[in-house]
Symmetry: D2
Subunit: 357 residues, 4 copies
Amino acid sequence: MSMRAITTVPPGGGVKLSEVNEEKGDGIRVRTFRTGICGTDKEIAAGKLSFARPEIGNSLIIGHEAVGVVTESNGNYEFKEGDIVVPMVRRPGSCRMCRLGRQDYCEDGEFVEAGIRGKNGFMRDEFTEDPRFLVRVENKSIQDLAVLTEPLKNVMKMKEIFQFLRMRIPWYCEDSTLSCKNMYVFGTGTEGLLISIVFKTLGLNVIEVNRHPLDENVMNYLERNKIDYLDTSSEGIDKKVKDKPMDAAIDAVGSMDVLREITDNIRNNGIAIMFGTSGQLPSSNFDVLENLVDRNLTIAGSVDGAKAHYSDAVKFIETHGKVMEMDKLITGTYEPDNLKIFMEKEKQEIKKVIAWS
Amino acid sequence: MSMRAITTVPPGGGVKLSEVNEEKGDGIRVRTFRTGICGTDKEIAAGKLSFARPEIGNSLIIGHEAVGVVTESNGNYEFKEGDIVVPMVRRPGSCRMCRLGRQDYCEDGEFVEAGIRGKNGFMRDEFTEDPRFLVRVENKSIQDLAVLTEPLKNVMKMKEIFQFLRMRIPWYCEDSTLSCKNMYVFGTGTEGLLISIVFKTLGLNVIEVNRHPLDENVMNYLERNKIDYLDTSSEGIDKKVKDKPMDAAIDAVGSMDVLREITDNIRNNGIAIMFGTSGQLPSSNFDVLENLVDRNLTIAGSVDGAKAHYSDAVKFIETHGKVMEMDKLITGTYEPDNLKIFMEKEKQEIKKVIAWS
Amino acid sequence: MSMRAITTVPPGGGVKLSEVNEEKGDGIRVRTFRTGICGTDKEIAAGKLSFARPEIGNSLIIGHEAVGVVTESNGNYEFKEGDIVVPMVRRPGSCRMCRLGRQDYCEDGEFVEAGIRGKNGFMRDEFTEDPRFLVRVENKSIQDLAVLTEPLKNVMKMKEIFQFLRMRIPWYCEDSTLSCKNMYVFGTGTEGLLISIVFKTLGLNVIEVNRHPLDENVMNYLERNKIDYLDTSSEGIDKKVKDKPMDAAIDAVGSMDVLREITDNIRNNGIAIMFGTSGQLPSSNFDVLENLVDRNLTIAGSVDGAKAHYSDAVKFIETHGKVMEMDKLITGTYEPDNLKIFMEKEKQEIKKVIAWS
Amino acid sequence: MSMRAITTVPPGGGVKLSEVNEEKGDGIRVRTFRTGICGTDKEIAAGKLSFARPEIGNSLIIGHEAVGVVTESNGNYEFKEGDIVVPMVRRPGSCRMCRLGRQDYCEDGEFVEAGIRGKNGFMRDEFTEDPRFLVRVENKSIQDLAVLTEPLKNVMKMKEIFQFLRMRIPWYCEDSTLSCKNMYVFGTGTEGLLISIVFKTLGLNVIEVNRHPLDENVMNYLERNKIDYLDTSSEGIDKKVKDKPMDAAIDAVGSMDVLREITDNIRNNGIAIMFGTSGQLPSSNFDVLENLVDRNLTIAGSVDGAKAHYSDAVKFIETHGKVMEMDKLITGTYEPDNLKIFMEKEKQEIKKVIAWS
């Protein structure tokens, strides 16, 4: 069948709205409802993602953040017509962790990622999917918000790592809660904001950090969720931590200067989770080892998430979406032919989505 | 009473053999048998350890690696005359972790360390000690080796951290052992060698790494313990890891270039423990974040050890000291007045000790 | 000041609505809004709880499930007038775990419990409370439901234990979720139902078990929350587990016969958490050891919960209260003078509460 | 080829020394050196082990505790002629845990066990083995003691479980060690004694328990290893725990009365590991639930061990065999034709072994 799809020729980049043909195949047929655009999509469009590669031929359908509606279940009993579903990005290879369902911890890199490397993505009218890689959204009232599941699943894995790492010692306050602990979150894009609200629900005090004033909508969003903001262009982090010591940190920026800010300022026994990767080199040489060692720090990298985290993410949206006003995170809905959204950053942009149906 | 002691005036440095006077006090009286010299002692002597400070007055008795013999128990039932004992270095403050007996995870830095900061050390003929900070050596045949307890207790804490961190996922081979896993240990001083032999006993393949050929005695020591050696002045680590992939790494050097070698070369889901601190800045700017994130690495700093680790260290020496030829690690025994040993590095030096009695 | 209070003379039992006098004291003044009645209250009233004891004198104000409103903060900055608060039951002694804020893991039994042993409870018009033992309810729309916080905090601790115990091995399905795992919950009172809905949110299939048909309202409640029900008076559990293997179990009954049903039917590597205690002896001699050992089972007892669990419970009600229709769990609201509710069990009773204001 | 073998016809029982014929096959050829006899062998011989079954035909070669010497490596590079090896008992099925190398946590029971069920054992002159199921003994001086590897590997798994379970809370003394903790070990056969010495090396105080006076050699063995003994025929355990509170317990008996003694006497937050299974029913009805719950106990069953535990066991014998006088545990060495050793219990018997070469 023929349909619209946004394609690129990786790794060279560029995006166009194409008409593509596809065999339906055996799996679950899904009509795409919304796809989100993230930094990775923009990098692919700009030809900056070196590991982007097509599934077959030269052209790749992009898009890895998606929500759709089942149109044909093809005899599969787990899903039925009308189900709202979110497809997974990373598909397992054959390593030990992939066989355990934890391809987010793939040992050898032999996976493919829909819309990114080796597998067509979801920026198209329809797709056919193996039911193992679909996550159902039970509560249909969050159909719009469910496009946030994919970026949110990353945060759910970070939460798993954080909860694990703090078991090393009794990493909690004198009253057993986390209410005395301050977590600094670096980066105020979609991922940074999602990290902030998820860790806020653990009872931590969350301080968002960036190096410039925020757009008013982002500032308001943080305030309504009782998340503090530190603009390091007007106040040094070293000063802030005197008031609110940094007990933990998560980075969604990917700059070596952020790593330095963390190791310079975090307290003894601190936990840092690094998610961002931008290749931004440090502005000066520095030593993280002295603090890493003397302060008994733990720094864990975290990439992707397992199906369990997609499920957790859907549940989080179902239960917190309204009270935490997650609709405010979607700042623009566009038609598939509006390709300039891959190139431009709008005023007050958080997450832009494309409406397919 | 009057006795000999090696003193310094911190943080300015210098060492001299002094005659000091001391009230005996209430605790366990210990006659010093051996004290070890480590890099920290040499730094204090050279005036390079900025945080060195006296207990009272201007002068500090140095020495934190020690083994002694109880001469008076002063009514304390835990120890009796003739017991061989190792004193602990770090003494707790009042924070939550210190109160749990885990001053090695002190939260606020309000501890003192014998022979280093705020408390006189053990390079003297005798000292009086609180029984809480003495660890008994049951097997008297290791009296000579027990001076290695203090550096070895650091390794026992690293082992605790390693065993904890690998619980995150099934971090073991297809046959449940660690026999397929390679651990790279950076640094071939006493600490590096102790790390190597301890992790060897966990069933890992251990590869020691340094940037020069080793003295013959060190090379022989590694060989007899079936530990591989990589001299990066003759073979790149990137080449070595093709044969023996780096699954885990421990650093006892403290150079940012080592951190880079680790993050550049370690496999997915790798575990790195950083122990060394030398303030050596990187030779060029580099990005650790991409690998840290994409490979799901965990990097933990580790400093000091708890009493449990001193006990583990004593037990390790009792059970492995002979078969792992730990006596070969002590390469020189000197008189207290031979102060030039603080300044010089002998040919084939590993650990030098001072004989007090 | 003078106020109404429901008192007993422990351990003899009996309840009456008394007029009591109390000094206000220094803490936070709270006007009681609702108190819940649980099995423990009924046992105290019936004189069956041997460890019930007064705070002073002969008489004890009962009631440990409560929600109230702050009327005076007495200069304390953490709480202000109008705040909705839930008071904690167990107050720490001086053991190591109590000092860590984990009196739920008290090592020596030197705690008191409000409304049960050694401390007056909350079935009275007002009380003064140490702010350390008050948990704030941020979302005022759950003021009615917040009386469920206390029984729910027990479940939050069970969840902590469950999440810990399953780390022993990769205790999850091939797709990384828990969707293939069946948890059997024994007991269909308030605690059993709360256990069921909390573990349902983890993605497990939950099967409630009891030995009789359920009241229609309870049956409906389970159905709406997609929780299965097994009435063992009509179908054997051994038959049920052929369809839905028992991977985990939680008991809220306290009968040795339930322990047997669990160990007889649970799968290898099964996790069981025991919460109920009723002193019900087994109906026949039996051996749990063979299955416990051969199946590598883990059975953990769980009592009480820490402040962190009260906070988790409040958050659970805030986020799941509406969608999981937790209001259906409160089946009757009574005046304080209606003391017969301590003696009788109503048709369709789940949780009965007393309205104080 | 033809050789001697001790065979039975399961589950009926009986043992005889037979001449058997066997194809050599492709694996590693091993000449049996010693095999141990344990309770399971005696039960098979007595026809009491209902699950005993042959590999093919009607007859089973028994024997699962063994040590041998490689005679032909058949081109396999991991082993060479002369290597001392211990074969594993349980062989994996196809479940998830078996595929992870953890058949000791087999999920579905689809394993076989050499000498017990579905696979011929090692009481024969020679056998051919898959190298995956052989564990090498590096230190040839323990060739005699290595027959203890198989029973000891069970203890190594118990240690893994114990170390895991105590991470739930800071389960250690005020000085971070385990020196204030008492572990009661029930059962004074080979397994009980091995448990005692292994947990002694963790720094716990170990109290062995049985219901009768011990043979002099066993009593001496405990004394030399500083393990206390409680004979419950002369002193109640309730009295003993006043002096030495029971913090943890391990059972190698398998009687429900022992379970009761543990739950009646263990302290809050206690850890119990159950290894014994004898089907001994309780002497009276009793309730374990009240203590299990109110004291937050954790009770874990443990069966078998993984290859990692065999390796740990070999290392334990290599390092502790001499100092802990493990040779004293082998109380008799017999010829293969001396079949009455399966029926009789000698005076002072601990472990009896058969010498094959």
